[in-house]
Symmetry: C2
Subunit: 311 residues, 2 copies
Protein backbone atom coordinates (compact mmCIF):
# COMPACT_ATOMS: atom_id res chain seq x y z
CA UNK A 1 0.00 0.00 0.00
CA UNK A 2 1.32 3.42 -0.97
CA UNK A 3 2.19 5.70 1.91
CA UNK A 4 -0.24 8.46 2.82
CA UNK A 5 1.22 11.79 3.98
CA UNK A 6 -0.83 13.64 6.62
CA UNK A 7 -0.10 17.27 7.44
CA UNK A 8 -1.59 20.55 8.61
CA UNK A 9 -0.93 24.00 7.17
CA UNK A 10 2.32 25.89 6.66
CA UNK A 11 3.54 27.72 9.76
CA UNK A 12 2.57 24.67 11.73
CA UNK A 13 0.66 25.40 14.94
CA UNK A 14 -0.49 23.15 17.77
CA UNK A 15 -3.88 22.33 16.18
CA UNK A 16 -2.26 21.40 12.85
CA UNK A 17 0.47 19.24 14.35
CA UNK A 18 -1.61 17.50 17.02
CA UNK A 19 -4.51 16.74 14.67
CA UNK A 20 -2.06 15.22 12.15
CA UNK A 21 -0.44 13.00 14.80
CA UNK A 22 -3.81 11.90 16.21
CA UNK A 23 -5.43 11.19 12.83
CA UNK A 24 -2.35 9.20 11.84
CA UNK A 25 -2.79 7.15 15.01
CA UNK A 26 -6.46 6.44 14.14
CA UNK A 27 -5.71 5.44 10.53
CA UNK A 28 -2.70 3.29 11.48
CA UNK A 29 -4.91 1.44 13.92
CA UNK A 30 -7.19 0.76 10.96
CA UNK A 31 -4.32 -0.77 9.03
CA UNK A 32 -3.41 2.15 6.74
CA UNK A 33 0.13 3.08 5.78
CA UNK A 34 0.18 6.70 6.99
CA UNK A 35 2.66 9.12 8.50
CA UNK A 36 2.26 12.57 10.09
CA UNK A 37 4.40 15.47 8.87
CA UNK A 38 4.89 19.17 9.53
CA UNK A 39 5.36 21.81 6.84
CA UNK A 40 7.52 24.15 8.90
CA UNK A 41 9.35 24.95 12.11
CA UNK A 42 7.34 24.38 15.28
CA UNK A 43 6.61 27.24 17.68
CA UNK A 44 7.43 27.12 21.37
CA UNK A 45 3.90 26.23 22.37
CA UNK A 46 3.75 23.20 20.10
CA UNK A 47 7.22 22.03 21.19
CA UNK A 48 6.12 22.33 24.82
CA UNK A 49 3.04 20.21 24.11
CA UNK A 50 4.98 17.46 22.32
CA UNK A 51 7.54 17.38 25.11
CA UNK A 52 4.87 17.24 27.79
CA UNK A 53 3.37 14.09 26.27
CA UNK A 54 6.70 12.61 25.20
CA UNK A 55 5.85 12.61 21.51
CA UNK A 56 8.47 13.14 18.82
CA UNK A 57 8.31 16.04 16.37
CA UNK A 58 6.89 14.92 13.03
CA UNK A 59 9.37 15.04 10.16
CA UNK A 60 9.55 18.10 7.93
CA UNK A 61 7.91 17.68 4.52
CA UNK A 62 9.33 19.83 1.72
CA UNK A 63 7.45 18.85 -1.42
CA UNK A 64 4.49 16.57 -2.14
CA UNK A 65 4.64 16.14 -5.93
CA UNK A 66 3.23 12.70 -6.76
CA UNK A 67 2.54 11.90 -3.11
CA UNK A 68 -0.81 10.74 -1.70
CA UNK A 69 -1.91 13.31 0.88
CA UNK A 70 -4.47 14.07 3.56
CA UNK A 71 -4.77 17.78 4.36
CA UNK A 72 -5.72 18.75 7.89
CA UNK A 73 -6.62 22.16 9.30
CA UNK A 74 -6.43 23.88 5.88
CA UNK A 75 -7.84 23.60 2.39
CA UNK A 76 -6.30 26.52 0.47
CA UNK A 77 -3.32 25.58 -1.68
CA UNK A 78 -1.44 28.72 -0.62
CA UNK A 79 -1.34 27.39 2.93
CA UNK A 80 -0.38 23.87 1.85
CA UNK A 81 2.77 21.98 0.89
CA UNK A 82 4.83 22.82 -2.19
CA UNK A 83 3.48 21.23 -5.38
CA UNK A 84 0.23 20.25 -3.69
CA UNK A 85 -1.47 20.71 -7.07
CA UNK A 86 0.68 17.83 -8.38
CA UNK A 87 -0.19 15.55 -5.47
CA UNK A 88 -2.97 13.00 -5.10
CA UNK A 89 -5.32 14.50 -2.51
CA UNK A 90 -7.23 11.81 -0.65
CA UNK A 91 -9.07 13.76 2.01
CA UNK A 92 -9.46 17.12 3.73
CA UNK A 93 -10.54 17.63 7.35
CA UNK A 94 -10.76 21.26 8.37
CA UNK A 95 -12.61 23.96 10.29
CA UNK A 96 -11.78 26.97 8.08
CA UNK A 97 -13.70 28.64 5.31
CA UNK A 98 -13.55 26.71 2.08
CA UNK A 99 -11.70 27.92 -0.99
CA UNK A 100 -10.98 24.73 -2.84
CA UNK A 101 -11.32 23.35 -6.32
CA UNK A 102 -10.19 19.92 -7.46
CA UNK A 103 -10.63 17.87 -10.61
CA UNK A 104 -12.33 14.88 -9.00
CA UNK A 105 -14.45 14.02 -5.97
CA UNK A 106 -12.54 13.45 -2.73
CA UNK A 107 -13.53 13.02 0.90
CA UNK A 108 -14.05 16.35 2.64
CA UNK A 109 -15.18 17.00 6.19
CA UNK A 110 -15.42 20.59 7.35
CA UNK A 111 -17.19 21.69 10.50
CA UNK A 112 -17.46 25.23 11.81
CA UNK A 113 -15.96 24.41 15.20
CA UNK A 114 -13.06 25.90 17.14
CA UNK A 115 -10.32 23.51 16.09
CA UNK A 116 -9.49 20.63 13.77
CA UNK A 117 -8.57 18.65 16.89
CA UNK A 118 -12.25 18.84 17.88
CA UNK A 119 -13.26 17.00 14.68
CA UNK A 120 -10.41 14.50 14.90
CA UNK A 121 -11.22 14.16 18.61
CA UNK A 122 -14.74 13.03 17.79
CA UNK A 123 -13.43 10.47 15.29
CA UNK A 124 -10.81 9.33 17.83
CA UNK A 125 -13.37 8.95 20.63
CA UNK A 126 -15.71 6.92 18.40
CA UNK A 127 -12.85 4.43 17.91
CA UNK A 128 -12.12 3.74 21.56
CA UNK A 129 -13.07 0.65 23.54
CA UNK A 130 -13.18 0.50 27.35
CA UNK A 131 -9.85 -1.29 27.29
CA UNK A 132 -8.23 1.52 25.32
CA UNK A 133 -8.87 3.97 28.14
CA UNK A 134 -6.08 2.43 30.20
CA UNK A 135 -3.60 2.49 27.31
CA UNK A 136 -0.77 5.03 27.75
CA UNK A 137 -0.64 5.70 23.99
CA UNK A 138 -4.35 6.52 23.98
CA UNK A 139 -3.86 8.93 26.90
CA UNK A 140 -1.08 10.69 25.00
CA UNK A 141 -3.21 11.13 21.89
CA UNK A 142 -6.09 12.43 23.99
CA UNK A 143 -3.69 14.92 25.58
CA UNK A 144 -2.43 16.13 22.20
CA UNK A 145 -5.98 16.60 20.91
CA UNK A 146 -6.93 18.49 24.07
CA UNK A 147 -3.90 20.75 23.56
CA UNK A 148 -4.95 21.48 19.96
CA UNK A 149 -8.46 22.48 21.05
CA UNK A 150 -7.21 24.68 23.90
CA UNK A 151 -4.66 26.34 21.63
CA UNK A 152 -6.98 27.15 18.73
CA UNK A 153 -9.88 28.31 20.91
CA UNK A 154 -7.53 30.32 23.17
CA UNK A 155 -8.78 28.23 26.10
CA UNK A 156 -12.40 28.76 24.93
CA UNK A 157 -12.06 32.56 24.86
CA UNK A 158 -12.02 32.84 21.05
CA UNK A 159 -15.33 33.70 19.35
CA UNK A 160 -14.88 30.55 17.27
CA UNK A 161 -15.49 28.34 20.33
CA UNK A 162 -18.56 26.10 20.18
CA UNK A 163 -20.23 23.84 22.70
CA UNK A 164 -18.82 20.87 20.80
CA UNK A 165 -15.24 22.06 21.43
CA UNK A 166 -15.91 22.29 25.15
CA UNK A 167 -17.63 18.88 25.31
CA UNK A 168 -14.92 17.07 23.37
CA UNK A 169 -12.17 18.80 25.37
CA UNK A 170 -13.91 17.74 28.56
CA UNK A 171 -14.00 14.04 27.57
CA UNK A 172 -10.41 14.15 26.26
CA UNK A 173 -9.15 15.73 29.50
CA UNK A 174 -10.66 12.84 31.47
CA UNK A 175 -8.96 10.26 29.26
CA UNK A 176 -5.66 12.17 29.38
CA UNK A 177 -5.92 12.56 33.18
CA UNK A 178 -5.54 16.33 32.93
CA UNK A 179 -8.00 17.64 35.45
CA UNK A 180 -7.23 21.34 35.44
CA UNK A 181 -7.16 21.75 31.71
CA UNK A 182 -7.80 25.48 31.70
CA UNK A 183 -4.59 25.87 33.64
CA UNK A 184 -2.82 23.60 31.14
CA UNK A 185 -4.13 25.82 28.33
CA UNK A 186 -2.81 28.98 29.94
CA UNK A 187 0.55 27.33 30.49
CA UNK A 188 0.64 26.60 26.74
CA UNK A 189 -0.32 30.14 25.75
CA UNK A 190 2.38 31.55 28.04
CA UNK A 191 4.94 29.66 25.96
CA UNK A 192 3.68 31.52 22.93
CA UNK A 193 3.83 34.87 24.76
CA UNK A 194 7.54 34.52 25.44
CA UNK A 195 9.07 36.08 22.34
CA UNK A 196 12.40 37.02 23.94
CA UNK A 197 14.43 34.93 21.51
CA UNK A 198 12.18 35.36 18.47
CA UNK A 199 13.04 37.89 15.77
CA UNK A 200 10.30 40.39 14.92
CA UNK A 201 10.14 39.05 11.38
CA UNK A 202 9.54 35.51 12.67
CA UNK A 203 6.98 36.81 15.14
CA UNK A 204 4.97 38.23 12.22
CA UNK A 205 5.48 35.35 9.80
CA UNK A 206 5.39 32.49 12.34
CA UNK A 207 1.63 32.10 12.12
CA UNK A 208 0.84 34.02 8.95
CA UNK A 209 -1.47 33.33 6.07
CA UNK A 210 -1.81 34.88 2.66
CA UNK A 211 -5.24 35.74 1.32
CA UNK A 212 -6.60 37.23 -1.86
CA UNK A 213 -9.39 39.74 -1.35
CA UNK A 214 -10.94 40.97 -4.57
CA UNK A 215 -7.73 40.09 -6.39
CA UNK A 216 -5.50 41.90 -3.86
CA UNK A 217 -2.86 39.97 -1.93
CA UNK A 218 -3.05 40.41 1.83
CA UNK A 219 -0.79 38.72 4.38
CA UNK A 220 -2.05 38.43 7.94
CA UNK A 221 0.32 37.31 10.69
CA UNK A 222 -1.00 36.68 14.16
CA UNK A 223 0.43 36.16 17.62
CA UNK A 224 -1.79 35.21 20.53
CA UNK A 225 -0.44 36.16 23.95
CA UNK A 226 -1.43 36.44 27.58
CA UNK A 227 0.95 39.38 28.08
CA UNK A 228 1.47 41.81 25.20
CA UNK A 229 4.15 44.03 26.76
CA UNK A 230 7.13 42.35 25.05
CA UNK A 231 5.54 42.60 21.63
CA UNK A 232 4.22 46.16 22.02
CA UNK A 233 7.74 47.40 22.84
CA UNK A 234 8.71 46.42 19.30
CA UNK A 235 6.18 48.69 17.55
CA UNK A 236 8.75 50.45 15.34
CA UNK A 237 10.41 47.18 14.36
CA UNK A 238 7.03 45.64 13.57
CA UNK A 239 6.17 48.41 11.10
CA UNK A 240 9.63 48.20 9.51
CA UNK A 241 9.30 44.47 8.98
CA UNK A 242 5.73 44.79 7.65
CA UNK A 243 7.00 47.30 5.07
CA UNK A 244 9.81 44.94 4.04
CA UNK A 245 7.55 41.90 3.77
CA UNK A 246 4.94 43.88 1.80
CA UNK A 247 7.58 44.91 -0.75
CA UNK A 248 9.24 41.48 -0.99
CA UNK A 249 5.97 39.64 -1.57
CA UNK A 250 4.30 42.31 -3.70
CA UNK A 251 1.37 42.59 -1.31
CA UNK A 252 -1.46 45.09 -1.25
CA UNK A 253 -1.49 44.92 2.56
CA UNK A 254 0.70 43.39 5.22
CA UNK A 255 -0.89 42.97 8.64
CA UNK A 256 0.22 41.84 12.08
CA UNK A 257 -2.43 40.98 14.64
CA UNK A 258 -1.35 40.84 18.28
CA UNK A 259 -4.17 39.16 20.14
CA UNK A 260 -4.33 39.57 23.89
CA UNK A 261 -6.39 36.71 25.26
CA UNK A 262 -6.89 38.37 28.67
CA UNK A 263 -7.90 41.75 27.18
CA UNK A 264 -10.15 39.84 24.75
CA UNK A 265 -9.10 41.98 21.82
CA UNK A 266 -6.27 42.55 19.33
CA UNK A 267 -3.81 45.22 18.33
CA UNK A 268 -3.67 45.43 14.56
CA UNK A 269 -0.61 46.80 12.78
CA UNK A 270 -1.20 47.56 9.10
CA UNK A 271 1.02 48.60 6.20
CA UNK A 272 -1.24 48.96 3.17
CA UNK A 273 -1.93 50.76 -0.09
CA UNK A 274 -5.32 51.80 1.27
CA UNK A 275 -5.87 52.17 5.01
CA UNK A 276 -9.50 53.23 4.46
CA UNK A 277 -10.42 49.61 3.63
CA UNK A 278 -9.26 48.54 7.09
CA UNK A 279 -10.89 51.47 8.87
CA UNK A 280 -14.13 50.64 7.08
CA UNK A 281 -13.85 46.91 7.83
CA UNK A 282 -13.48 47.40 11.58
CA UNK A 283 -15.27 50.76 11.85
CA UNK A 284 -12.32 52.26 13.70
CA UNK A 285 -9.79 54.99 12.89
CA UNK A 286 -6.16 53.88 13.05
CA UNK A 287 -3.25 55.83 14.49
CA UNK A 288 -0.53 55.59 11.85
CA UNK A 289 -1.71 52.09 10.92
CA UNK A 290 -2.21 50.84 14.49
CA UNK A 291 -5.48 50.23 16.31
CA UNK A 292 -6.80 48.19 19.22
CA UNK A 293 -9.89 46.24 18.22
CA UNK A 294 -12.06 45.09 21.08
CA UNK A 295 -13.62 41.62 20.76
CA UNK A 296 -11.58 40.85 17.62
CA UNK A 297 -9.64 37.67 18.35
CA UNK A 298 -10.07 35.17 15.54
CA UNK A 299 -8.37 35.75 12.19
CA UNK A 300 -10.75 33.27 10.61
CA UNK A 301 -14.01 34.48 12.10
CA UNK A 302 -13.50 38.10 13.15
CA UNK A 303 -10.93 39.44 10.70
CA UNK A 304 -10.96 37.68 7.31
CA UNK A 305 -14.74 37.95 6.67
CA UNK A 306 -14.72 41.68 7.54
CA UNK A 307 -11.78 42.39 5.24
CA UNK A 308 -13.23 40.26 2.45
CA UNK A 309 -16.40 42.34 2.61
CA UNK A 310 -14.60 45.69 2.77
CA UNK A 311 -12.27 44.82 -0.15
CA UNK B 1 -36.36 29.24 14.58
CA UNK B 2 -35.79 30.44 11.03
CA UNK B 3 -36.76 27.99 8.32
CA UNK B 4 -33.99 26.05 6.60
CA UNK B 5 -34.39 25.33 2.87
CA UNK B 6 -32.95 22.01 1.68
CA UNK B 7 -32.48 21.30 -2.02
CA UNK B 8 -30.42 19.43 -4.61
CA UNK B 9 -29.09 20.79 -7.90
CA UNK B 10 -30.90 22.42 -10.80
CA UNK B 11 -32.37 19.92 -13.25
CA UNK B 12 -33.50 17.92 -10.27
CA UNK B 13 -32.85 14.18 -10.52
CA UNK B 14 -33.82 11.27 -8.29
CA UNK B 15 -30.69 11.47 -6.12
CA UNK B 16 -31.13 15.22 -5.55
CA UNK B 17 -34.82 15.04 -4.73
CA UNK B 18 -34.78 11.89 -2.60
CA UNK B 19 -31.73 12.98 -0.59
CA UNK B 20 -33.43 16.33 0.14
CA UNK B 21 -36.66 14.66 1.32
CA UNK B 22 -34.78 12.13 3.46
CA UNK B 23 -32.41 14.65 5.05
CA UNK B 24 -35.39 16.88 5.82
CA UNK B 25 -37.02 13.91 7.57
CA UNK B 26 -33.88 13.35 9.68
CA UNK B 27 -33.50 17.01 10.68
CA UNK B 28 -37.22 17.44 11.45
CA UNK B 29 -37.02 14.46 13.74
CA UNK B 30 -34.23 16.33 15.52
CA UNK B 31 -36.49 19.32 16.02
CA UNK B 32 -35.27 21.60 13.22
CA UNK B 33 -37.52 23.82 11.12
CA UNK B 34 -36.62 22.49 7.66
CA UNK B 35 -38.36 21.91 4.33
CA UNK B 36 -37.29 20.07 1.16
CA UNK B 37 -37.52 21.86 -2.21
CA UNK B 38 -36.75 21.21 -5.86
CA UNK B 39 -35.09 23.69 -8.21
CA UNK B 40 -36.78 22.50 -11.38
CA UNK B 41 -39.24 20.21 -13.11
CA UNK B 42 -38.99 16.54 -12.15
CA UNK B 43 -38.18 13.88 -14.73
CA UNK B 44 -40.33 10.79 -15.31
CA UNK B 45 -38.09 8.57 -13.25
CA UNK B 46 -38.27 10.79 -10.17
CA UNK B 47 -42.03 11.19 -10.52
CA UNK B 48 -42.39 7.43 -10.74
CA UNK B 49 -40.34 7.01 -7.54
CA UNK B 50 -42.35 9.59 -5.56
CA UNK B 51 -45.62 8.02 -6.73
CA UNK B 52 -44.43 4.53 -5.86
CA UNK B 53 -43.80 5.54 -2.25
CA UNK B 54 -46.77 7.90 -2.04
CA UNK B 55 -44.64 10.96 -1.35
CA UNK B 56 -45.62 14.42 -2.56
CA UNK B 57 -43.45 16.44 -4.94
CA UNK B 58 -41.41 19.03 -3.04
CA UNK B 59 -42.36 22.63 -3.82
CA UNK B 60 -40.46 24.56 -6.49
CA UNK B 61 -37.94 27.07 -5.13
CA UNK B 62 -37.22 30.06 -7.40
CA UNK B 63 -34.85 32.28 -5.47
CA UNK B 64 -32.95 31.93 -2.19
CA UNK B 65 -31.81 35.50 -1.48
CA UNK B 66 -31.65 35.95 2.30
CA UNK B 67 -32.77 32.36 2.94
CA UNK B 68 -30.93 29.85 5.14
CA UNK B 69 -30.00 26.88 2.94
CA UNK B 70 -28.57 23.38 2.96
CA UNK B 71 -27.18 22.29 -0.43
CA UNK B 72 -27.35 18.61 -1.31
CA UNK B 73 -25.82 16.76 -4.25
CA UNK B 74 -24.02 19.88 -5.56
CA UNK B 75 -21.60 22.55 -4.44
CA UNK B 76 -21.03 24.71 -7.52
CA UNK B 77 -23.09 27.92 -7.58
CA UNK B 78 -23.84 27.46 -11.29
CA UNK B 79 -25.82 24.34 -10.44
CA UNK B 80 -27.58 25.91 -7.47
CA UNK B 81 -30.58 28.16 -6.80
CA UNK B 82 -30.82 31.73 -8.07
CA UNK B 83 -29.08 34.24 -5.78
CA UNK B 84 -27.38 31.48 -3.83
CA UNK B 85 -24.47 33.91 -3.27
CA UNK B 86 -26.88 36.12 -1.31
CA UNK B 87 -28.17 33.25 0.85
CA UNK B 88 -26.95 31.99 4.20
CA UNK B 89 -25.38 28.60 3.46
CA UNK B 90 -25.52 26.32 6.49
CA UNK B 91 -24.23 23.04 5.12
CA UNK B 92 -23.25 21.10 2.01
CA UNK B 93 -23.53 17.32 1.60
CA UNK B 94 -22.33 16.06 -1.77
CA UNK B 95 -20.46 13.41 -3.74
CA UNK B 96 -19.16 15.58 -6.61
CA UNK B 97 -15.85 17.28 -7.16
CA UNK B 98 -15.49 20.43 -5.12
CA UNK B 99 -15.42 23.90 -6.64
CA UNK B 100 -16.56 26.08 -3.80
CA UNK B 101 -15.48 29.24 -2.08
CA UNK B 102 -17.30 30.93 0.75
CA UNK B 103 -16.52 33.79 3.12
CA UNK B 104 -16.87 31.85 6.36
CA UNK B 105 -16.58 28.31 7.68
CA UNK B 106 -19.64 26.09 7.16
CA UNK B 107 -20.35 22.38 7.59
CA UNK B 108 -19.28 20.37 4.55
CA UNK B 109 -19.43 16.63 4.04
CA UNK B 110 -18.29 15.24 0.72
CA UNK B 111 -17.56 11.59 0.07
CA UNK B 112 -16.47 10.04 -3.22
CA UNK B 113 -19.35 7.56 -3.37
CA UNK B 114 -21.95 6.81 -6.02
CA UNK B 115 -24.78 9.00 -4.75
CA UNK B 116 -25.70 11.62 -2.18
CA UNK B 117 -28.43 9.23 -1.02
CA UNK B 118 -25.64 6.89 0.12
CA UNK B 119 -24.29 9.55 2.49
CA UNK B 120 -27.74 10.62 3.70
CA UNK B 121 -28.60 6.91 3.95
CA UNK B 122 -25.76 6.37 6.40
CA UNK B 123 -26.91 9.34 8.51
CA UNK B 124 -30.51 8.09 8.31
CA UNK B 125 -29.57 4.55 9.37
CA UNK B 126 -27.55 5.80 12.32
CA UNK B 127 -30.73 7.51 13.58
CA UNK B 128 -33.00 4.47 13.59
CA UNK B 129 -34.15 2.49 16.61
CA UNK B 130 -35.57 -1.05 16.42
CA UNK B 131 -39.05 0.41 16.81
CA UNK B 132 -38.57 2.68 13.80
CA UNK B 133 -38.16 -0.33 11.53
CA UNK B 134 -41.89 -1.03 11.68
CA UNK B 135 -42.83 2.59 10.96
CA UNK B 136 -44.40 3.13 7.52
CA UNK B 137 -42.81 6.60 7.21
CA UNK B 138 -39.38 5.10 7.85
CA UNK B 139 -39.98 2.46 5.17
CA UNK B 140 -40.89 5.18 2.68
CA UNK B 141 -37.76 7.19 3.40
CA UNK B 142 -35.63 4.03 3.08
CA UNK B 143 -37.29 3.38 -0.28
CA UNK B 144 -36.59 6.90 -1.54
CA UNK B 145 -32.95 6.67 -0.50
CA UNK B 146 -32.62 3.28 -2.20
CA UNK B 147 -34.09 4.79 -5.38
CA UNK B 148 -31.56 7.63 -5.30
CA UNK B 149 -28.65 5.20 -4.99
CA UNK B 150 -29.93 2.94 -7.77
CA UNK B 151 -30.57 5.91 -10.05
CA UNK B 152 -27.19 7.62 -9.62
CA UNK B 153 -25.15 4.41 -9.81
CA UNK B 154 -27.21 3.11 -12.78
CA UNK B 155 -28.07 0.07 -10.66
CA UNK B 156 -24.39 -0.30 -9.67
CA UNK B 157 -23.18 -0.33 -13.31
CA UNK B 158 -21.64 3.16 -13.19
CA UNK B 159 -17.88 3.39 -12.57
CA UNK B 160 -18.69 5.69 -9.63
CA UNK B 161 -20.19 2.78 -7.67
CA UNK B 162 -18.41 1.87 -4.42
CA UNK B 163 -18.84 -0.97 -1.95
CA UNK B 164 -20.45 1.53 0.44
CA UNK B 165 -23.24 2.27 -2.07
CA UNK B 166 -24.02 -1.44 -2.38
CA UNK B 167 -23.94 -2.03 1.38
CA UNK B 168 -26.18 0.92 2.21
CA UNK B 169 -28.59 0.03 -0.62
CA UNK B 170 -28.75 -3.51 0.71
CA UNK B 171 -29.73 -2.41 4.23
CA UNK B 172 -32.20 0.17 2.91
CA UNK B 173 -33.89 -2.41 0.67
CA UNK B 174 -34.49 -4.64 3.70
CA UNK B 175 -36.06 -1.77 5.65
CA UNK B 176 -38.14 -0.72 2.64
CA UNK B 177 -39.23 -4.34 1.99
CA UNK B 178 -38.00 -4.19 -1.59
CA UNK B 179 -36.41 -7.56 -2.13
CA UNK B 180 -35.62 -7.48 -5.82
CA UNK B 181 -34.11 -4.04 -5.86
CA UNK B 182 -32.12 -4.53 -9.04
CA UNK B 183 -35.41 -5.09 -10.80
CA UNK B 184 -36.81 -1.95 -9.16
CA UNK B 185 -33.77 -0.03 -10.43
CA UNK B 186 -34.29 -1.20 -13.99
CA UNK B 187 -37.95 -0.27 -13.78
CA UNK B 188 -36.87 3.24 -12.81
CA UNK B 189 -34.34 3.55 -15.61
CA UNK B 190 -36.94 2.42 -18.14
CA UNK B 191 -39.03 5.44 -17.17
CA UNK B 192 -36.08 7.62 -18.10
CA UNK B 193 -35.62 5.80 -21.43
CA UNK B 194 -39.14 6.66 -22.58
CA UNK B 195 -38.61 10.00 -24.31
CA UNK B 196 -41.67 9.77 -26.60
CA UNK B 197 -43.24 12.95 -25.19
CA UNK B 198 -40.01 14.84 -24.46
CA UNK B 199 -38.72 17.48 -26.85
CA UNK B 200 -35.14 17.03 -28.03
CA UNK B 201 -34.15 20.32 -26.40
CA UNK B 202 -35.50 19.13 -23.04
CA UNK B 203 -33.83 15.76 -23.51
CA UNK B 204 -30.47 17.57 -23.79
CA UNK B 205 -31.04 20.17 -21.09
CA UNK B 206 -33.05 18.01 -18.67
CA UNK B 207 -29.97 16.74 -16.86
CA UNK B 208 -27.35 19.22 -18.03
CA UNK B 209 -24.55 21.00 -16.23
CA UNK B 210 -22.36 23.91 -17.22
CA UNK B 211 -18.64 23.72 -16.58
CA UNK B 212 -15.70 26.02 -17.14
CA UNK B 213 -12.60 24.29 -18.44
CA UNK B 214 -9.58 26.58 -18.69
CA UNK B 215 -11.92 29.57 -18.93
CA UNK B 216 -14.05 27.98 -21.67
CA UNK B 217 -17.75 27.36 -21.08
CA UNK B 218 -18.89 23.81 -21.76
CA UNK B 219 -22.41 22.46 -21.31
CA UNK B 220 -22.84 18.72 -20.91
CA UNK B 221 -26.31 17.21 -21.04
CA UNK B 222 -26.78 13.53 -20.29
CA UNK B 223 -29.53 10.94 -20.65
CA UNK B 224 -29.15 7.47 -19.23
CA UNK B 225 -31.25 4.79 -20.95
CA UNK B 226 -31.70 1.07 -21.21
CA UNK B 227 -32.75 1.36 -24.85
CA UNK B 228 -31.14 4.04 -27.02
CA UNK B 229 -33.14 3.53 -30.23
CA UNK B 230 -35.63 6.37 -29.64
CA UNK B 231 -32.88 8.88 -28.94
CA UNK B 232 -30.57 7.77 -31.77
CA UNK B 233 -33.33 8.32 -34.30
CA UNK B 234 -33.17 12.00 -33.43
CA UNK B 235 -29.50 12.49 -34.38
CA UNK B 236 -30.13 15.40 -36.75
CA UNK B 237 -32.39 17.16 -34.29
CA UNK B 238 -29.86 16.65 -31.53
CA UNK B 239 -27.11 18.40 -33.52
CA UNK B 240 -29.48 21.23 -34.47
CA UNK B 241 -30.44 21.83 -30.85
CA UNK B 242 -26.81 21.62 -29.67
CA UNK B 243 -25.89 24.33 -32.21
CA UNK B 244 -28.77 26.55 -31.01
CA UNK B 245 -27.94 26.10 -27.32
CA UNK B 246 -24.24 26.75 -27.99
CA UNK B 247 -25.06 30.05 -29.67
CA UNK B 248 -27.67 31.15 -27.12
CA UNK B 249 -25.42 30.53 -24.14
CA UNK B 250 -22.17 31.66 -25.75
CA UNK B 251 -20.54 28.28 -25.15
CA UNK B 252 -17.23 26.95 -26.40
CA UNK B 253 -18.72 23.47 -26.59
CA UNK B 254 -22.19 21.98 -26.26
CA UNK B 255 -22.34 18.25 -25.58
CA UNK B 256 -25.02 15.59 -25.30
CA UNK B 257 -24.12 12.26 -23.75
CA UNK B 258 -26.48 9.35 -24.39
CA UNK B 259 -25.49 6.65 -21.95
CA UNK B 260 -26.64 3.11 -22.62
CA UNK B 261 -26.55 1.24 -19.35
CA UNK B 262 -26.79 -2.19 -21.02
CA UNK B 263 -24.07 -1.44 -23.62
CA UNK B 264 -21.98 0.02 -20.77
CA UNK B 265 -20.93 2.99 -22.84
CA UNK B 266 -22.10 6.34 -24.21
CA UNK B 267 -22.76 8.06 -27.50
CA UNK B 268 -21.34 11.56 -27.39
CA UNK B 269 -22.69 14.31 -29.64
CA UNK B 270 -20.49 17.40 -29.75
CA UNK B 271 -20.82 20.87 -31.28
CA UNK B 272 -17.63 22.74 -30.46
CA UNK B 273 -15.10 25.34 -31.55
CA UNK B 274 -12.37 22.70 -31.34
CA UNK B 275 -13.22 19.01 -31.83
CA UNK B 276 -9.55 18.03 -31.39
CA UNK B 277 -9.85 18.68 -27.64
CA UNK B 278 -12.57 16.01 -27.42
CA UNK B 279 -10.75 13.56 -29.67
CA UNK B 280 -7.66 14.00 -27.50
CA UNK B 281 -9.63 13.64 -24.25
CA UNK B 282 -11.20 10.31 -25.21
CA UNK B 283 -8.51 9.14 -27.65
CA UNK B 284 -11.12 8.51 -30.34
CA UNK B 285 -11.88 10.07 -33.75
CA UNK B 286 -15.41 11.42 -34.10
CA UNK B 287 -17.66 11.12 -37.12
CA UNK B 288 -19.02 14.61 -37.66
CA UNK B 289 -19.02 15.23 -33.91
CA UNK B 290 -20.45 11.86 -32.90
CA UNK B 291 -18.65 8.95 -31.28
CA UNK B 292 -19.46 5.88 -29.20
CA UNK B 293 -17.24 5.71 -26.14
CA UNK B 294 -16.95 2.31 -24.52
CA UNK B 295 -16.86 2.22 -20.73
CA UNK B 296 -17.64 5.95 -20.47
CA UNK B 297 -20.77 6.24 -18.33
CA UNK B 298 -20.29 8.81 -15.60
CA UNK B 299 -20.18 12.52 -16.46
CA UNK B 300 -18.54 13.20 -13.12
CA UNK B 301 -15.94 10.47 -13.15
CA UNK B 302 -15.37 9.47 -16.77
CA UNK B 303 -16.07 12.65 -18.74
CA UNK B 304 -15.40 15.86 -16.79
CA UNK B 305 -11.88 14.95 -15.54
CA UNK B 306 -10.79 13.91 -19.08
CA UNK B 307 -12.11 17.13 -20.62
CA UNK B 308 -10.65 19.27 -17.86
CA UNK B 309 -7.25 17.72 -18.57
CA UNK B 310 -7.55 18.08 -22.36
CA UNK B 311 -8.68 21.72 -22.18
Amino acid sequence: MEKIYIFGHKNADTDSVCSAIAYTWVLKRNGLNVEAYRLGKLNKETKFVLEKFGVEEPELLEDVEGKTCILLDHNEFKQSANNIEKAEILEIIDHHKMNFSWHKPIAILVRPVGSTCTIIGEIFLSELTDEDLKDEEVKKIAGLLLAGILSDTLVFKSSTTTGIDINIADILSQIADIEDFENFGEEMLKKKSDISDIKTRDMILGDSKEFEFNGKKVLIGQLEVLDDSQALERENEIFEELKKIKQEKGLHSCVFVLTNVLKEGSYMFVVTDDISLFEKAFDKKSENGKAFLEGIMSRKKDIVPKLEKAF
